[in-house]
Symmetry: C2
Subunit: 205 residues, 2 copies
């Protein structure tokens, strides 16, 4: 009896630090696989095929759309980005857990198509702290900062679509909570529990 | 904004070792409170009021039944045993987590009245191992062993009413899983999430 793995979808407003949380988790838990997106954007210096992205042509991307091979896809500044189902499902069916970091729009699309996923929302300790983090990155104009904060407000309203939330105060705390969620979900009574009951019943014959 | 605590209901067939798991958890996590049952049975040597049980008279017990002060109660060998709501709710409303170890019948009654509880089923590694554990306790007649095993089979069918299951192979593993479940449930998006959203929104005013 092979138990299926889980898909953990990590989401949260821009600047909340979800990338750092995911990177640190994967460093400590090499058993957890990262979902890799496909994109039609050109490979940048230092980026690796199958590590940062699957770099594919527009024709191949369109072909995958036609064959319904994406959970979600979107166009950003003229380039296409998408989450291919195949890679994630292969790992899950093999009993491995998969981590997927995505924006809130994308997460809600995935939830529709794969509701058995575990949806985790990363929150800032406060909106003031979120502003500080975006300002301190130093990559955004004043206008862009306000835009990001407004988006964060809209996004927080969707938190009730998620299973869990983590307030990202200290990295160590957030990682510890995330690992608890991952371990707890392994213990969840899910549809495949009947296989386990069957195992106990057969032992007694 | 005070976050409510959780009620963790621990359940499982006789002989599975749930008592040991609970005792060890409470030793390591003094922040978790144990729910104490009320009983009309006489206090035995070494038992303490409010530690092992609340020892009350039949009249008081009947009075509590009339006032709907129990989540569940049952008669066993002429004595009454029940789970008083008051103590548990006081802790939960105070933000503390409460542990309740109970038989499967009692757990299902509590689930009806307090569905927001977290219901955890403890399983043996195998039915053979369950038999070994009951036999090795040395407290049961051959007839009683068979009765307990038959009950275990009936009980395992109810596992889909539970939120989580833990296969009690090694105590250390079981405790670690239980702590993960407790920590993960603190991160769950529940009804009171709206208070948290409100907090973020007010900060921005």
């Amino acid at each position: 009896m092979k138990k299926k793995g889980n898909l953990f979808v990590i989401c949260g407003p821009s600047g909340v630090g979800k990338g750092t949380v995911c990177k640190e988790l994967l460093k400590r838990r090499p058993d957890i696989k990262l979902s890799i997106s496909a994109t039609t954007r050109k490979k940048r210096n230092g980026e690796l095929e199958g590590v940062n992205y699957y770099f594919i042509s527009k024709e191949n991307f369109q072909d995958m759309i036609n064959k319904d091979e994406f959970w979600e896809y979107a166009e950003v500044y003229g380039n296409l980005y998408g989450t291919p189902k195949k890679y994630v499902l292969e790992h899950i069916n093999n009993g491995e857990d998969v981590l997927l970091e995505i924006d809130i729009q994308g997460a809600l699309q995935i939830k529709e198509k794969y509701p058995e996923g575990v949806f985790i929302f990363i929150l800032p300790p406060s909106m003031k702290e979120l502003r500080n983090r975006i300002v301190n990155r130093g990559t955004d104009s004043k206008e862009s900062i306000e835009k990001r904060l407004k988006a964060a407000f809209r996004e927080i309203d969707f938190i009730d679509k998620y299973d869990y939330y983590i307030i990202n105060d200290k990295l160590e705390n957030s990682i510890s909570k995330l690992i608890s969620i991952i371990e707890a979900e392994k213990c969840r009574v899910k549809d495949d529990i009947y296989k386990l009951i069957q195992k106990y019943k057969e032992e007694a014959k």
